[in-house]
Amino acid sequence: MAGLTLELLGMQLLTGIALGSIYALLALGLCLIFGMLGVVNFAHGAFFMVGAFLGVYFLGLTGNFLFSILLVPIVTGAIGLVTERFLIRPLYGRGIDYPLLLTFGLSYVLIEIMRVSFGIEGLPSITPDSLKGSMNVGIGYFPKYRIFLIAVTALIILGIWFFIQKTRYGLIIKAGSRDPEIVKVLGVDVAKVWLLVFGIGTAIAGLSGILASPTRSVNPEMGIPILAESFVVTVVGGMGSPIGAVVAGLLVGVVYSLTSLFAPALAELSIFVLMAVVLLIRPQGLFGKSGFMS
Amino acid sequence: MSAANITPILEAQHVSMQFGKFKALSDVSTSFQTGSLTAIIGPNGAGKSTFFNVLSGAFPPSEGKILFNGVDITHQKPYEFARIGISKSFQITNVFKQLSVHENVRVATQMQVSRFNFLKDARSLLSTIESADELLERVGLHQLGHKKSGDLAHGQQRALEIAMALACKPSLLLLDEPTAGMSPEETLVMMDLIRTLATERTVILVEHKMKLIMGLCNRIIVLHHGEFLAEGTPNEIQNNAEVRRVYLGQG
């Protein structure tokens, strides 16, 4: 293959890791919601999209990226809290499909709200000035923003891990996802935990959105393929497994990136084929537990 | 006592069951003779339900084997267990709540006749309907055929479960706490039913109502902390010092 060098491969790998970081973060949010509430958030892609729009909007308004990164998850988290409290909670006890269906309907509403607020064309994406341009990573010049992206998502994921593993609240969340009864015995209101976790999940989705916004076009439909892609990551990683979400997220990003290099027309298809292969030989996913279901 | 060279209908060999870090069963070995009516008992947490699930094919043990008439069936799927003649009722009532009582049993009897046929009218399969009627009569539910099974009283739902379990014409019937949640009257009815059923096939029960077991079974197996503790006739078990110590006031 003419022009293929180790450097080119390395750069493409790095691009894949940057893409995969977003996937990992998204899938982690999805996993937390599923692990704790047993709900697959079909509005996850929509929250991602809302995060991207709000991110561009706040950045345009304040010129402060850090501020925007802090504000966006608060807003999408708040929308999530309202959603759980008034739309999803009434559905508990009804049947596993109902919350899923509701979030699907919600995604339609969120998409339309963004269309009305920001126009059907979307907004031009903004890269913060300090992160524009490229930097030397040894094997070549790589966009500064993507390095930032990898670093920041790694930090966030570590932070989430720390929160779950080491804090009291995290313990409750971990315990609750295994046995809501135990949590009740501990004197904690399970409903509050569900509320909180759903909010955290949508906050993460929004955060992924703003972090991804400089790397792609920001339009109301951007969350639609993202939903499918987060499902791919979840299936590959294993449902309910946070480690699986992160590892699979990075893997899927890399697979996409490398396929773009060798067979660009097949890039989107490649990650779905990966998922199909995993389904065939290990249906529970890389880190999922065998035989566990619904 | 049966002669040593008659193959037991069901045998558990060195069965262990591990759930993550928790060992629910440790090296349990025992066998069940054809035609016997055995109860598995033990204090809470003894592993009775887990053992029941392994014996009935709900999941395979982490270690060990299950033999049916001498044949290793350890890793067969639940539906395969049913097809070879091992039938069970569940601890938590497991009927098709939205379907009528008659439809519930008919789904079970249909299995024997016609599984994949999607063009024939189910109502024309007279043999399945007759079998369903017969089974409902056996368990005393023939008057309630048209009622939605979700609307039945608890004891009636359990009777329905037994009717469904009988539909696969089992040579071995496993019942998980068949009288759980029943009133004294319902319990007596169920006991009579089990007694009759036991004359035609091998029955294994999980129970903890001791008075019930004493009057019903000809053999008892005692589990404790996932291990095999003792076995014998009701009298032998009642007088077993270890069993008394373990139960101490329970029963």
Binding site: Y108 | F96, E103, N117, T128
Partner: protein
């Protein structure tokens, strides 16, 4: 009132056929009636799997789309007669059902919904990229049916009313098939699986095999809807394969009443008629649909027809 419903219920295929024969005159224009036929069939095929068996697939657009594309490609690229093209479309969709079903059934519960959505997207991207055959982003064009003769009677597909009745012919056959399936032993097992899979297994049924069979039947019916749609539109839009199209089947089923015979058609009719009306005075149809759907999920999960049936059942005081 009760007696009428009882009569309709017993002769449901006949009742539906008679109603559908006069349906074009109830609608403002024929194309809407045809759309309702096609999507009613789509929802009906989907409902077999979801309403009756409890498996929520978000990938059924793959079968609608496969039916459309294979029928279209048969005509456009291979010059086949339209009857054969429909057959190929249905077979292709059934085969798709076999492959996707086989992979998806290895999973259960909510996982199933995620997996079917993602598998459906494989079909979407696959057809998208196969530009030479499918037209890619622009869709497949030129699916034409030339006028032909039946018993000396000239049948011109360009006449909307004639087109409606030809499509109705196939739809009625499919409705009859669905009715038979539901009344058959398989139908009983399907509903039992929805209620309690473990119990069905304990009775000796190979539940996985049964699910796969129903998946294939469901896919074939949705494929037929797709084949008919290709002939109706003369084009096949690429979005036929997208999961949002699958979502439409889900919404129609919930709206109309899942697990009921007439529900899917009621849902399709209501949704498409509403879309026709609403889009004439606003472009925010997506929000309207989303809100209506949320409303039904929260307050009317049984759907329009399902709620009516429930009301009658309560009135009568019998279980089923």
């Amino acid at each position: 009132m009760q007696a009428i419903f009882q009569l309709i219920s017993t002769h449901r295929v006949l009742a539906t056929t008679l109603f559908l024969m006069v349906f074009p005159w109830l609608m403002p224009y024929e194309a809407l009636a045809i759309n309702i036929l096609i999507f009613g069939l789509f929802a009906m095929g989907f409902n077999l799997l979801f309403g009756y068996m409890g498996l929520l697939s978000f990938g059924h657009a793959a079968f609608l789309g496969m039916g459309s594309y294979i029928t279209g490609i048969s005509i456009v690229s291979f010059g086949m007669p339209w009857g054969a093209a429909i057959l190929f479309g249905v077979i292709a969709a059934a085969f798709g059902g076999l492959v996707i079903g086989f992979l998806a059934i290895r999973t259960r519960g909510i996982y199933f919904s995620m997996v079917t959505l993602a598998l459906g997207q494989i079909v979407y991207y696959g057809f998208y990229k196969a530009e030479k055959l499918t037209g890619g982003e622009n869709g497949l064009r030129g699916v034409k049916v030339d006028p032909f003769n039946i018993f000396g009677f000239k049948v011109d597909f360009l006449n909307p009313l004639i087109k409606y009745y030809i499509i109705l012919f196939f739809v009625v056959i499919a409705i009859w098939l669905v009715s038979r399936i539901l009344k058959s032993p398989l139908g009983a097992v399907m509903e039992a699986i929805r209620e309690n899979e473990k119990r069905v297994s304990a009775c000796g049924y190979n539940v996985a095999q049964t699910k796969l069979l129903v998946f294939i039947l469901s896919a074939a019916i949705c494929g037929l809807a797709g084949s008919l749609r290709a002939l109706h539109l003369s084009i096949v839009p690429i979005d036929s394969l997208h999961y949002l199209q699958s979502g439409q089947a889900v919404m129609m089923s919930i709206l109309g009443g899942m697990g009921t015979f007439f529900g899917p058609f009621v849902g399709a009719a209501v949704m498409l008629y509403l879309e026709d009306v609403v889009t004439s005075f606003t472009k925010h149809w997506m929000a309207v649909v989303g809100l209506i759907f949320i409303f039904f999920v929260l307050f009317f999960p049984k759907g329009i027809w399902g709620s009516i049936l429930e009301y009658l059942r309560v009135q009568k005081g019998t279980p089923k």
